[in-house]
Symmetry: C2
Amino acid sequence: MARQADRRAALRMRLIDAAERTIAAEGLAALKARDLAREAGCAVGMIYNLFAHLDELVLCVGSRTLAMLEVVLASARSPEGEGSSEEAVAELVRLALAYLDFAAAHTIRWRALFEHRMAPGRPLPEWFIEQQRVLFAQIERPLTALLPEFDRGARRIFARTLFSAVHGIVALGLEEKLVSLPMPDIRTQLAATVRAIAAGRAELRAAARGPAQS
Amino acid sequence: MARQADRRAALRMRLIDAAERTIAAEGLAALKARDLAREAGCAVGMIYNLFAHLDELVLCVGSRTLAMLEVVLASARSPEGEGSSEEAVAELVRLALAYLDFAAAHTIRWRALFEHRMAPGRPLPEWFIEQQRVLFAQIERPLTALLPEFDRGARRIFARTLFSAVHGIVALGLEEKLVSLPMPDIRTQLAATVRAIAAGRAELRAAARGPAQS
DNA sequence: CACCGCGTTGAACGCCGTTCAAGAAAAACA
DNA sequence: TGTTTTTCTTGAACGGCGTTCAACGCGGTG
């Protein structure tokens, strides 16, 4: 029968579910092979028949987190057809705030996405990198209207810079150490920063083409 | 004799030195109690007579990294007495680039500063937080000239936002995953972003005072 | 020289991810 | 169906980790 394969697939799912629950509730460090096996109802060794190592399981959970982010960011999109740069800036602000809200609502699982490092020597699998690229594409989309004269490469660089800045503000904003701001203040800081970077896009295009300066 | 205390102090230093070498060369994950003891010439148990736990040793190395950063950022200061806002912006750009250069030159030890998490339940010691505050003060200094009408609190918030954005760009810029930019491009992106945020300071002040908006 | 208190030691503890010999279950065959 | 072969599953065992603590030895004292 094909029962065997079904049971394996079901167990695989149960393991990912269990890992997801743990990571979302207690963070990466709380993920233990023995707990996982007990919760999914199998032997510890079975985990290694279905996954190469625990890192792979962590990546599966990370993939789910990225999927959640995709949905959230998609809901920040502008209505079709609008092409003004004001609307593009507004969309970028909505994207940034949506990112902040997601990180605030799912802090622990969101942190796991960035704290996790593969064991040395094992690179990130291609499918995971591809999923990140898909997310980045959501940022590049409104940039087409905002920066019509940029080529694809320059837009990608701009998107990268913008995301990095937004991510930095969100990450430090949710950190408990250092005097932390109340959430509404973080929101306004973030929105203002995105608008400022968008307003300074001329310089950033020059930067994306020309060489460095001291 | 007081010989005993001297020997203990010397051993303490040797342990911190060994930990620093390891963290700078191979990163946080490579730090092992047994290696440390061997390298410093003592028993594993001795480490726990001089430090409460390995985390404390990691913090000592982190403190040295922060001290290195203080020196590097201090060298980006403007000459005394200059008070124009153009000069203030230039100083902020120099600070950001100095930060980037430091992170690029000492990537592994710099990463250790941010990747490290205390064991659950044990908060960061006050002296460590204070040292971070001193560093932040270096950013707030040029802001006095740039934002004379801001009160101290608003300046602190602006400094925090600015640093977060800079840190984000530096951190993602040095990440190997995702298409990575050549260093000169990162420099120009970073400089342009700092100038853009500084140029948008009016909005950021409003943000630091007023309430949030969607 | 004998004694004692205390700083130092490293074997031992508990926990971790990962492996693999052996047992159980399924498949193939007669 | 009974028997053999293959394949999957299991959990005790392995090596390595941070941390502890009973025991040891050494410096200071009587």
